[in-house]
Subunit: 364 residues, 2 copies
């Protein structure tokens, strides 16, 4: 049987650097554990635009569709700010999400014990924090039509459309309920049903799916503005949060920052099962391309490495191996190893991007 295939799209900025550490890990798995992948590389974002004038070519799109899993680094950079909307680096990422139909974006916000003092929040508010945000990723205002900038009378008008169908809401709700079953059995759904009809439908459908299929899960609903407040006030009240594409974008970043260490946070974007039973899947760190530190060996590779661990768990049913990677990360942190972003007043052992990657391999 052929090895499972991994398509690596390292992208822009620090993407290639952090992905280089993941590649070491992939080689380690083949050499030491006999778990081999067919790895190939391709371009996305600004890197793809520089070569072919588009942030994602049709060929790359086809390879992503065929891959067992896609690992993505990061996209974007100031160099591309002047580009037209339609060819901005982000469009490459959005095209992948949309065409692979990756509707469930899993964003764990976890506070690592060794790093709890790093948060801008008080230690007792965030220590031990472990919430999972499930963000709808293929619909809503990100993709709704009509959209664009039009002229009306003598002025410009900017339009986007928030649009959710019942089935789009139901499937991401199911993802959230399934995750909750493996966690603490609680889901909080967030929208603005007091202001938006799309939020009214969201709330109804989530409740219906719950009542019919997941009555064992404790479901609550919260307005998204209150959600932002509650995340800041007392984040540990949450287990799984499910929300739409745009609220998910803002709320998951808010939640990520609570942990104090963005360089640590992975994500998985999952779609429907393929013929081989594996879900369509793309894994990427939550952090961006950080152009200001790119190429300096300062980037923290952990978020990207933990994204690979999520791939092991969700695409390849290697939960035990995933946990081993996660434990190795915790060990190097407990040992005091720190990339620049993790270097706080209490000090630590400074390491470069590759130093951190090597240490994690050694800890495995």
């Amino acid at each position: 049987m052929a090895n499972p295939s991994l398509l690596i799209l390292a992208g822009d900025g620090i993407g290639p650097e952090v992905m280089a550490e993941v590649k070491k890990l992939i080689r380690w798995f083949e050499a030491k554990r006999g778990i081999a992948f067919d790895v190939s590389d391709d371009l996305v974002g600004g890197a793809a635009y520089d070569k072919s004038g588009t942030p994602l070519t049709d060929e790359t799109m086809a390879r992503a569709q065929a891959a067992d899993a896609v690992l993505l680094g990061a996209v974007g950079g100031p160099k591309y700010d002047v580009l037209d909307f339609s060819v901005k680096p982000e469009r490459g990422l959005l095209r992948l999400r949309k065409e692979m139909d990756l509707y469930a974006n899993l964003r764990p916000a976890q506070c690592f014990d060794a790093l709890a003092d790093f948060s801008s929040l008080k230690r007792d508010i965030v220590a031990g924090l472990d919430i999972m945000i499930v963000r709808e990723l293929t619909s809503g205002v990100y993709f709704g039509e009509p959209r664009g900038i039009f002229t009306e009378g003598n002025e410009r008008v900017g339009i986007n459309t928030q649009r959710y169908t019942e089935s789009e809401i139901a499937r991401v709700a199911r993802s959230a309920f399934e995750l909750a079953r493996k966690r603490n059995g609680k889901v909080c759904s967030m929208e603005k049903a007091n202001v938006m009809e799309s939020g009214v439908l969201w709330r109804q459908v989530v409740q219906e799916v719950h009542d019919k299929e997941y009555p064992d899960i404790q479901l609550s609903h919260m307005y998204a503005d209150n959600g932002a407040m509650q995340l800041v006030r007392a984040p540990k009240q949450f287990d799984v949060i499910v929300t739409d594409n745009l609220f998910g974008d803002v709320l998951s970043d808010c939640a990520a920052m609570l942990t104090g260490s963005l360089g640590m946070l992975p994500s998985a974007s999952l779609g429907a099962p393929m013929a081989n039973g594996r879900p369509k899947a793309l894994y990427e760190p939550v952090h961006g391309s950080a152009p200001d530190i790119a190429g300096q060996g300062k980037a923290n590779p952990i978020a990207c490495i933990l994204s690979f661990a999520m791939a092991l768990r969700y695409s390849f049913d290697l939960g035990v191996e995933a946990a081993r990677v996660e434990q190795a990360v915790e060990k190097v942190l407990a040992d005091g190893l720190r990339t620049a972003d993790l270097m706080g007043p209490e000090g630590g052992v400074p390491v470069s991007t590759s130093g951190m990657g090597d240490a994690i391999l050694a800890a495995l």
Copy 2:
């Protein structure tokens, strides 16, 4: 000359209780400072629905249009959750905002020194915090058409429309720049121009207004998801933030919670100048109707009292009197007086809603 008119819409939940303290303050101003208002009361939200089956009658709407300023308590409560979208308490508030064309919602997020330990954030991150969020309040996805829940094929679809015209963006940008001139000269504009065309237009127009009319202000742009992160990470980097209706809803609540004391935060919603030169204006606390503690004398009246102080400043050009009220609030806090929501581990002198109101009067 007639006294300036104040329409009081106390609304639901704790609205009437906190407004009672503002009324004491209004009487104090008349008796002690010769500053008199023609005060009248009316209903909004659930209270209006209970009486007339609508959260805001046409008569009340007309009185609000005619008033020199409107003071609002809070709307909503679980009793009304079952109501149809079109008659929910919130619609009363949204109608006031829309028909009075109150496009600039000013939400100061200020951390009171005596309460800094109340925040879930570390003291040094929030002590001295003083930012002003200017939220567009009459357009965007709150009001855009088409909207509703429709049937397509055999499923329901929820639709809302984000829509901004150039002039809508320009006028709220001007409000932000004007405020920045009186503060620290910095404006940060937030949108998702990397994903939404309405955000692209927002960014362009804000930049154009800046370049033509406010080149003295330091303007920056930030994606709204990053904005949420930066608010949590290092809120003191901001002076004035300007953003759209929906992002403003979420981000201003996030910012409010940073201060740790929602019961302290006022807001002003301002429109164009009326014939008498005063802006159309509605003032309301940021907190909600808190049905769980309504009627128990536990509510903190300070947010509502500080909203009245904003009315003195922005509607009646009584900035000196406004500052006196604000100082009185700071004094009672420094004296250790605490309503239930402000009672932390370090203790304090417990006071009721009216006890707090009386103490502020005494401090004046």
